[in-house]
């Protein structure tokens, strides 16, 4: 998911062409305080007129307790982007309050409550402690993400680039998302020149269970896509497992071996997930 500063018309216009799965039109941290109004007006305009064909469009609004949060909701909610990203959520009461406001605005515009999804960002120590309860509060919440920069600041970490300080938080957030069966996105990698560092981090967070990663420069898309897209070898292996499973199932066999390794239901489930990510129809195998 590619962050695009909400006050940059050229980047907003071109956001969908780089191959990201989604664009995050940002009204929050990527926008200077004296540009907040301009960004809000611009993003609202872009949502009306620019086609982000093939890309999920999410708008990150300012926190409701800032001077800009409520106006952001008032302007953006009626336009119903695919999702709204809520920063620095810490408690259940807070998410409850924001969702009520969103629904109130939707009611004023005769909009349903189930069209636009909500992404919650966990960016403080308190948020990490409450993440499970926040994530399961509403079915509208279809993804959570961790905001590493703010979290590191909240934890008073001096050196945060290696990710050690936020490692526990990452795992906690992933576990909460998995328990609620929703998507979970990792934080940004700020050193855009360090392609290898990005690849290492993307591989690590993929192993942790993250669904994807937020990025701040289109140049990072290729690396993250490569990490999260199954390789040809992985796809072939998954296809082999699924085919063997179908064959054995017909004969009433639940556990069998493929290439000398035991295959049971969870292994088949993972193989099916690989095929799903590769957009391969199991029926076609």
């Amino acid at each position: 998911m590619l962050y695009i500063p909400g006050n940059n018309p050229a980047m907003l216009q071109q956001g969908s062409v780089y191959g990201a799965d989604g664009v995050l039109l940002d009204l929050e941290d990527a926008v200077a305080l004296n540009q907040k109004d301009a960004a809000r007006i611009l993003v609202a305009h872009m949502l009306k007129y620019i086609s982000y064909e093939g890309c999920e469009v999410t708008v990150r609004v300012n926190h409701i307790d800032t001077p800009f949060g409520l106006e952001d909701l008032k302007q953006i909610v009626p336009l119903q982007p695919d999702a709204l990203r809520l920063p620095k959520v810490e408690t259940v009461d807070e998410i409850k309050r924001i969702l009520e406001l969103i629904e109130q605005i939707e009611d004023e515009h005769n909009l349903p409550h189930n069209q636009m999804n909500v992404h919650v960002m966990i960016e403080t120590a308190l948020g990490v402690q409450n993440v499970y309860d926040i994530a399961r509060y509403s079915p509208r919440i279809d993804a959570i993400s961790i905001g590493g920069q703010d979290l590191a600041a909240d934890m008073q970490l001096v050196k945060a680039n290696d990710g050690v300080g936020i490692d526990y938080a990452r795992k906690q957030v992933v576990m909460a998302a998995k328990a609620c069966k929703i998507d979970v996105f990792d934080t940004v990698f700020v050193d855009v020149e360090n392609e290898e560092g990005l690849r290492e981090e993307a591989e690590y967070i993929k192993k942790l269970g993250f669904t994807g990663k937020a990025i701040i420069n289109p140049r990072q898309i290729e690396v993250v896509n490569e990490v999260f897209t199954p390789t040809e070898l992985e796809i072939r292996k998954a296809a082999k497992i699924v085919k063997a499973f179908e064959r054995n199932k017909a004969e009433g066999i639940g556990v069998f071996a493929v290439d000398g390794k035991m295959v049971d239901a969870p292994v088949v489930q993972r193989a099916l997930r690989v095929l799903e990510m590769a957009d391969i129809d199991v029926e076609s195998l």
Partner: protein, 517 residues
């Protein structure tokens, strides 16, 4: 008269003579010979042990007996650091010489300082493969009394052979030369690599001056230019700004848009059917075009494909691919950075070639004929795939024909890479301002908003679609672009033709009208 692309071409133009309309990329070539007569090179003689060394460039120029109406030629291998063109023209102007035809292989922004000589009658006509900067603006506004001629690199060689460009004096910069005029660009403090465009000037000019900041012991090795063609040799303190002549290594762009287009272009190439063992390859030196090499390099390594040769303008990135064993050789007509010069000097598989071997259509086969894949840029491209690489959105000359039409006509797969619009200027559109390369030579256009295959290339389209690559109708893309940018206001021009664009075979593919100031 109208040419085959429906461009209105005058029958005759004062300062040039009769014009021949473009009738298709191969209409002249397919005859198997050139109808125009070739002119013989000049006859010269020289007594043994007489000196060619002159103390100053002025002395050397004086010895050539300059006259009004002469044609003076230069190469553009010094790139943005060139100061020789200005120095030489200033000397000629100070000597009171008027009505000069400037036949430079290309003119860049480094040549802006000669603009006053366009205005005062010193220079009255220009032949070049490209013109940029202040000069490009001024000539489009009609500063020169005679029409300028834009030719391709291959076309320039043809024009010299046929005498269309009759060079009276060639002033050729070298980074190393000896007292007899054997010269190279491959070493010395101002090394710039290949001297590919200069060879033809040395062979055909009535008089030739080699100018260097670095006289070496006789004989200079290697020899891009040889002594038997050289009249005078001058040692100067500087041939230009070394940092701009031979700057480090060329880096791949970091611009996300260029990288995205390049990534898509590499996918197209990978599935085109042309990326196979032993393929030959050429890319441009900048932006998305060079970035394609980055992705092709990756694909070649992944699929264990080895190419045969890299052709044309060469960057350090091409040298890296040679050194990695991804290609067997490089044939270098023009080098773009310092790293290329050292490779040219040290690697026997990195070979300097003259422009005629590179791209002249009228011989027994130039090397562009052997190209499998070329990746080219565009300032504009129309819905018939005709490409403009010479005039910008305001109508000024701000680009170069270079080897665009030469390589496009020769390659099995010609890929044009460009954004579909820049800022709010549409690039993919119904009609381009000036045609340089005919659409029949272009196979596929790759932009950030769509990949469009020339309808004549149905097999290519099928190959791409079977690999899951979405192909878009270029008319649809042009409409989408117009939907974003709005309809561009037409460029306001007068009836006066200030320049012509020659196709590589010498026919006129388009003309350039005077832009209203």
């Amino acid at each position: 008269m109208k040419n085959i692309l429906q461009r209105e071409i005058p029958e005759e133009l004062e300062g040039i003579g009769k014009l021949e309309a473009f009738e298709g990329a191969f209409s002249k070539l397919k005859k198997g010979w050139m109808e125009e007569k070739t002119v013989p090179p000049p006859n010269k003689a020289k007594m043994p042990h007489s000196s060619k060394i002159c103390d100053t460039l002025r002395d050397a120029i004086l010895k050539t007996k300059p006259r009004d109406g002469m044609t003076v030629s230069f190469h553009h291998h010094l790139r943005g650091g060139d100061n020789l063109v200005y120095e030489a023209i200033k000397i000629l102007a100070d000597l009171g010489i008027k009505d000069i035809t400037l036949a430079a292989s290309s003119l860049t922004t480094a040549h802006d300082p000669i603009l006053p000589y366009f205005k005062d009658g010193t220079i009255t006509q220009v032949y070049a493969s490209g013109i940029r900067g202040e000069l490009g603006k001024a000539i489009a506004e009609g500063v020169l009394p005679k029409p300028f001629v834009i030719h391709s690199h291959g076309g320039r060689v043809r024009s010299v052979h046929t005498g269309k460009i009759k060079i009276d004096l060639a002033i050729l910069a070298a980074s190393a030369a000896d007292e007899e005029g054997n010269a190279t660009g491959a070493h010395g403090p101002s090394a710039f690599g290949s001297m590919g465009y200069a060879a033809i000037d040395s062979w055909y000019a009535k008089q030739v001056i080699v100018v260097t900041d670095n006289i070496v012991d006789y004989p200079c090795v290697p020899q891009s230019i040889t002594q038997n063609y050289i009249d005078y040799v001058v040692k100067v303190d500087s041939i230009g700004d070394p940092s701009k002549i031979a700057g480090g290594t060329t880096r791949i762009t970091k611009a996300p848009m260029d990288l995205q287009i390049a990534r898509l272009a590499a996918q197209v190439i990978e599935h085109s059917g042309e990326l196979k063992e032993g393929f030959s390859f050429q890319v441009g030196a900048g932006g998305a075009s060079l970035a394609v090499a980055k992705y092709i390099r990756k694909i070649m390594k992944h699929r264990s494909i080895k190419g045969s040769f890299i052709l044309g303008g060469v960057t350090s990135y091409g040298v890296d691919m040679l050194n990695e064993g991804l290609f067997r050789s490089i044939f270098d007509v023009q080098s773009f950075d310092a790293a290329v010069s050292s490779s040219l000097l040290e690697n026997q598989y990195h070979i300097e070639i003259p422009a005629g071997l590179y791209a002249n259509p009228f011989n027994c086969g130039c090397m562009t004929n052997k190209l499998d894949i070329v990746v080219l840029g565009a300032l504009e491209i129309d819905t018939n795939f005709n490409v403009n690489v010479i005039t910008g959105s305001e109508g000024y000359v701000r680009g170069a024909s270079g080897g665009h039409s030469d390589t496009a006509s020769g390659a099995n797969l010609t890929v044009v890479v460009c954004p579909s619009f820049r800022g709010r200027i549409p690039i993919v559109k119904k009609k381009v301002h000036t045609i340089v390369t005919p659409g029949e030579s272009i196979d596929v256009l790759v932009t950030e908003r769509g990949i469009c295959v020339n309808p004549q290339k149905s097999e290519l389209k099928a190959n791409l679609e079977s690999a899951g690559i979405k192909v878009k109708d270029i008319e649809v893309l042009a409409e989408e672009v117009e939907g974003i940018t709005g309809k561009a206001k037409p460029i306001e021009t007068t009836e006066r033709v200030v320049g012509i664009v020659e196709y590589r075979d010498g026919t006129v593919i388009d003309v350039i009208h005077q832009v209203k100031e």
